[in-house]
Assembly symmetry: C2
Homo-oligomer: 308 residues x 2
């Protein structure tokens, strides 16, 4: 399959490399890594085994990438203003587009531009970061849950899941993509939000009983917002919270991506992880007050440290 | 009048110095400043005029301070575990006690130990900090609103207000001390809380529209918690918010005390400013969810900065 990767951060590079190794024809839209990958190819380090791809097709513009069968989007969502424009040349043929971006609102942008029947989305559970140009480090996990923007378990969704599975990424096709996205937010909103705001790792939040209680309160808010969306199968609140708390204990001393972004002075993915969920919940009558507070405070411009 | 100052931080030293200058007999319970004040007296710098007191009675223990007519408490509220024990020797005679501490719960502690009829409280609006040992810097303002723990506008409250006024501190006796304390919290909770948590000054919170909206939402929560207490004259929500926002603009680049405490690595007054109000509101059926979240996060143990 001819696959374009748009947004070649850690996620795009890692999944693209696996898909190419599995025999697909990959074309990467690159920025930082363009020269390095043209010269030396792409190196992946992983607990599952390191590997190197000698010949990798990298491009500086999507207009040069030609026709593909599938566009995989890994763009950071604060760049979503350019998402449609970036994808348009690749969508001129009959390609489908799969966005693996964080949070909510991404399929909607693509569906509006290209028609919902051409859009799929996926929720990626992945620990990975970029190394020096031309290399990406897979830290662990990497499973994906993907589905149609329109909903329903289609043959296409099953085929794409099989494509990732064949490349070595556990992948589950889901009938209700929106539900899968909200379910991930039940974790991301409290932990990405509070860790980024307080610059404490997940274990430190859980070790402080009042903050642990606020994590649970935030999960309850998000689950209420989620279930107001009218899923065929609502999230089971107590089971969902129990599972996520247990998983988090298992992570040990963990820094969610938004915390790392803030520590490294990068822009934060606030709209898709906090803003759109707050608005979608509000549209269904659920005021996620704690989430709105986090969203506001994380949006404060960074500044030089203040002295006493 | 014979007056004991218990808790000689900036507030205790400043008001004590003014009361002594006005002809009262002051006795200060001192820790850090004990030796310096014994040797060199007490220096006050102030936009209203600097002055120096040559002879100041300082003590290391309240048991040595003798009988007084009035005990003025300026102790930081995180030391309230020792409040009653500190005051007890001074209350052996017929003294009244006036607590000018921050937040809620202080009169209750004293009233339980010494009887409510001996307790008054006041809300101090003061910018002051300690300089080198033996000196205190008054930055501006300094008015007090004081009243009986039991409520009601008594002759004693009027006399104490006159005492402070004669010393140069504008002082208003109020019939409803609890209302005055809650009213101050309408400012302290959002600004002390958010500035301490985000390490941004008040002007920066107001310049960011979503955070400004959260400041207002926090004020609404506190006003709801306040009015649930059943004051004879409830706080007028919109007028209260408008006044406080206007005052805050007037403060310019301002660091509330809790922010300064955190920047200087001191303990924070979380119980009296956040915890007791949350509990008093909850006891009347008002869940101040944003305040509870701030209270939790500000209570996270400080730690070495985390790296990306």
């Amino acid at each position: 399959m001819r696959i374009a990767i748009v947004g070649s951060g850690a996620l795009g590079l890692y999944y693209g490399a696996l898909l190419q190794r599995a025999g697909n024809e990959l074309r990467f839209l690159l920025r930082r890594d363009l020269d390095a990958i043209a010269r030396r190819g792409l190196t992946v380090t992983s607990p599952n085994g390191d590997f190197h791809l000698d010949r990798v097709q990298g491009f500086a513009r999507t207009a040069e990438m030609g026709e593909v069968d599938l566009v995989v989007v890994g763009l950071k969502t604060f760049d979503n203003l350019h998402l449609v424009e970036l994808c348009r040349p690749l969508m001129a043929g009959g390609a489908a587009v799969l966005t693996l971006q964080n949070g909510l609102g991404n399929e909607e942008l693509l569906a509006e531009a290209f028609g919902p029947e051409r859009v799929l989305g996926g929720v990626a559970f992945l620990g990975a970061n970029r190394g020096e140009p031309g290399s990406v480090h897979h830290l662990g996990k990497g499973h994906i849950r993907l589905g149609e923007a329109k909903g329903g378990l289609t043959p296409r969704a099953r085929e794409l899941a099989a494509l990732f599975a064949a490349a070595g990424v556990p992948c589950e096709p889901v009938a209700d993509l929106a539900r899968a996205r909200w379910e991930k937010l039940v974790w991301n909103i409290p932990f990405n939000g509070l860790c980024a705001l307080t610059l404490r790792t997940t274990d430190r939040l859980l070790a402080h009983a009042p903050t642990r209680a606020e994590v649970v309160a935030l999960m309850h808010e998000v689950i209420a917002g989620a279930n107001a969306q009218g899923f065929a199968e609502p999230l089971d609140r107590d089971r969902c919270v129990a599972e996520m708390m247990e998983q988090t204990v298992g992570l040990g001393v963990y820094k969610p991506s938004t915390m790392i972004d803030r520590l490294e002075g990068r822009q934060l993915e606030l709209g898709s992880i906090f803003g759109v969920p707050v608005e979608k919940a509000a549209a269904r009558g659920v005021d996620m007050v704690r989430v709105r507070l986090l969203w506001a405070l994380l949006g404060l411009p960074e500044a030089a440290p203040v002295r006493a």
